[in-house]
Amino acid sequence: MSGRVLVGVKRVIDYAVKIRVKPDNTGVVTDGVKHSMNPFCEIAVEEAVKLKEKKLIKEVVAVSCGPQQAQETIRTALAMGADRGIHVEVSGKDYETLGPLQVSKILAALAKKEDAQLIILGKQAIDDDCNQTGQMTAALLDWPQGTFASEVSLEGDKVKVVREIDGGLETIKINTPAVVTADLRLNTPRYATLPNIMKAKKKKIANMKPAELGVDLTSRLEVLKVEEPPQRQAGVKVETVDDLVSKLKEAGRI
């Protein structure tokens, strides 16, 4: 038992920002847009830090894949209480096509390298909404997975995970090492305060390249088009009940 937990954190466009699609429909505008840590990743970090505070694990390692700015996201995780960070540098063309499969390959390689006991991830990112990274990582490592966790407890070398499923909760017990993905109700993430951000600057962030981990980043997916969701049609005001009835008849509703 290494007592080491790997937490994946993703840098995404801030949840409060209005997303705009690029005019050539190849993606969304990211330049000069506020970014922050994916809210579900915050929940994952909080859970790992809580486990550490209960002395059930020894070390929390925050991992992020992306360009230089991903370090800010790792820094936030460190401010929340993670012990050290690993920045897997992916930039340019590779970053544009970086998807769940590529990230899970990186995470799987890191989990082996760091001898992790547990991987905690957010269930999905709010930018691509894939909800695949946790599942793929578990599959690549051939580890058990507890997805959509709303409660996690360590019991010896097993993890008890209460999962959010359609219409209720499911409790499962899985062996470690395992992959757990956090759902919204797992906990309430703490705020990365200014003093903690400052203190986090002393913590170490290791820099790595995917090639050093022996991971090939070629993507088999091709994005054909990114479009805005359809605009809501304007409503019509009617003067009388008769007008309303005739309009509804016109629309074929009655």
Partner: protein, 85 residues
């Protein structure tokens, strides 16, 4: 001049200023309010009173953190979960 509570007050101001960057009505709005709130009490010299004011500021920090958390939580809930739950 070197009031022992000076550092405390500056720390509070910095922390609040940092939190204000995420304020829903914009950081400029927050900053203006923050500054006027601090300037209003600039002539307070009684250490007990200063301590009380700093404690009030720390309380505001807690409130802001709670506000941001709730705001994010609600946004996530609205986007990803059924409304009736």
């Amino acid at each position: 001049m070197a009031n022992p509570l000076r550092g405390e007050v500056i720390r509070l101001y910095k922390n609040l200023l940092y939190l204000g960057r995420e304020y829903p009505q914009g950081s400029a709005y927050f900053r203006q309010r923050l500054k006027s709130a601090f300037m209003k009490n600039k002539d307070v010299t009684d250490p007990d009173k200063i301590k009380k004011l700093v404690a009030r500021g720390d309380f505001v920090i807690k409130e802001l953190e709670a506000l941001y958390f709730l705001r994010k939580y609600r946004a996530m809930k609205k986007r990803y979960y059924e409304p009736d739950k």
